[in-house]
């Protein structure tokens, strides 16, 4: 620092003063600071602030969307769960109905089958009885015929005892054969 130069210009270092020079000093300080404030505001503060706000808004929007999606997913899940419950309930009702219907049908079928079996049984018994009567009539008829034939042969043959016995045996064998065949 050139003290002589400053002395010539009436300037000297000092700690504090309240004179014209003090207020002259305000001019460059005010100019500097206003210039700095304008430049810093438009170069740094506003663009960075805008960036931060834009990012915050975007993140907030994404969070909102995520929340909406989550809510929609929860709604969908609860809807599906309700549907599953309804389906389960419907399934139970259908199964119960089907079981009930099956039981009714089985009972009905069994009743019908029993009736049919009884009818078949009755018809078979009737047929058996009819056949029995028919065979019985046939045997009786055969006995009559054989007896008549035997009597004819007896009369036609000699009175020989041996012959008689032989004829009798033959007649009896014929009778037995007829009976067994008829039955």
């Amino acid at each position: 620092m050139n003290q002589g130069f400053l002395f010539l210009l009436n300037a000297e270092p000092r700690l504090f003063g309240m004179d014209q020079q003090t207020f002259m000093q305000l001019i460059p300080h005010l100019f500097n600071f206003i210039l700095l404030a304008v430049l810093l505001t438009f170069i740094l503060y506003k663009p960075v602030r805008a960036f931060l706000h834009e990012r915050a808004d975007r993140i907030a929007k994404e969070l909102d969307e995520a929340e909406q999606t989550r809510q929609a997913a929860l709604d969908l899940k609860s809807k599906y769960e309700q549907q599953l419950k309804d389906i389960e309930m419907e399934r139970t009702v259908i199964l119960d109905d089907a079981r009930k219907q099956a039981i009714e049908r089985r009972n009905r079928d069994m009743t019908e089958a029993k009736k049919e079996i009884d009818a078949l049984k009755a018809r078979a018994n009737a047929e058996i009885e009819a056949e029995k009567n028919r065979v019985k009539d046939q045997v009786e008829q055969s006995i009559v015929e054989i007896s008549s034939a035997m009597a004819g042969k007896l009369l036609a043959a000699s009175i020989d005892v041996n012959a008689h016995s032989r004829l009798f045996d033959e007649a009896m064998a014929e009778l037995e054969a007829t009976v067994f065949k008829g039955v």
Partner: protein, 230 residues
């Protein structure tokens, strides 16, 4: 002994009046250059800023984001547009106050014209906000209340704000500077090693940050009060 007076690097003529180019003005230019360089680098890199900040982007976001939050929590919505000015005020004051940490340098805020110039800008914004948002009600409530006869007193009261703001800052920073220079000049030689570190941390860093904050928050409060509805 460390010289606490304000060095003068030259004299220029302004409107026919001598203007001393003091160390304060030169240091202000240095601080302006530092801040503007930082701002330009940040502006250039802003195009490459991502959603996952790291490194330099973190620093820029922390500075602007913290101050934006500070403005939102302390300032009324009407004065949010002044955020850039308050941001510059705080950044400039902070760097000015801690400038004394550099070897052989004195903080520019230890020279009264600088704090007073800054306080005048605050005063301007206080009056501007009051008149812009409340018009005649502001003038009536501030200068003519409770009766027009109190106008001189109210004018003194209003003008005392920038004076008190500037002298609070000037006195605190100059006080720290004088104490440190006393230690360097008068205390035994062995106390000049190590111990000044703590004094610098206290008077320059802690006090500097605190005074920058106080100046900014008071300005913000005054401007906010002036803008508030009446």
């Amino acid at each position: 002994m460390f010289d606490v007076t304000v060095p003068i690097h030259g004299v220029v003529s302004l409107f026919g009046v001598d203007l001393w180019i003091t160390n304060t003005i030169v240091v202000s230019w240095v601080i302006m250059a530092v801040l503007l360089t930082f701002a330009i680098i940040a502006r250039v890199k802003l195009k490459k800023f991502t959603d996952k900040p790291k490194g330099f982007q973190n620093v820029v976001e922390m500075m602007v984001g913290a101050f934006d939050g500070f403005m939102k929590s302390n300032g009324s919505p009407k004065i949010q547009w002044m955020g850039g000015w308050f941001f510059t005020l705080f950044a400039f004051l902070l760097l000015s106050n801690i400038f004394g940490l550099l070897p052989g340098q004195r903080p520019p805020t230890a020279d009264w014209p600088l704090p007073f110039a800054l306080a005048l800008t605050s005063f301007f914004f206080i009056q501007y906000s009051g008149i812009r948002h409340n018009g005649w009600q502001y003038i009536k409530g501030t200068y003519l209340s409770p009766h027009p006869v109190f106008l001189p007193v109210n004018i003194l009261g209003e003008f005392s704000r920038p004076i008190s703001l500037s002298f609070r800052l000037f006195g605190n920073i100059l006080g720290g500077l004088i104490l440190i220079s006393l230690l360097y000049g008068l205390a035994p030689v062995f106390t000049r090693f190590g111990i000044p570190v703590f004094l610098h941390l206290f008077f320059d860093l802690a006090f500097g940050a605190l005074q920058a904050f106080i100046f900014t928050i008071l300005s913000l409060t005054f401007v906010g009060l002036a803008a508030a509805e009446r």
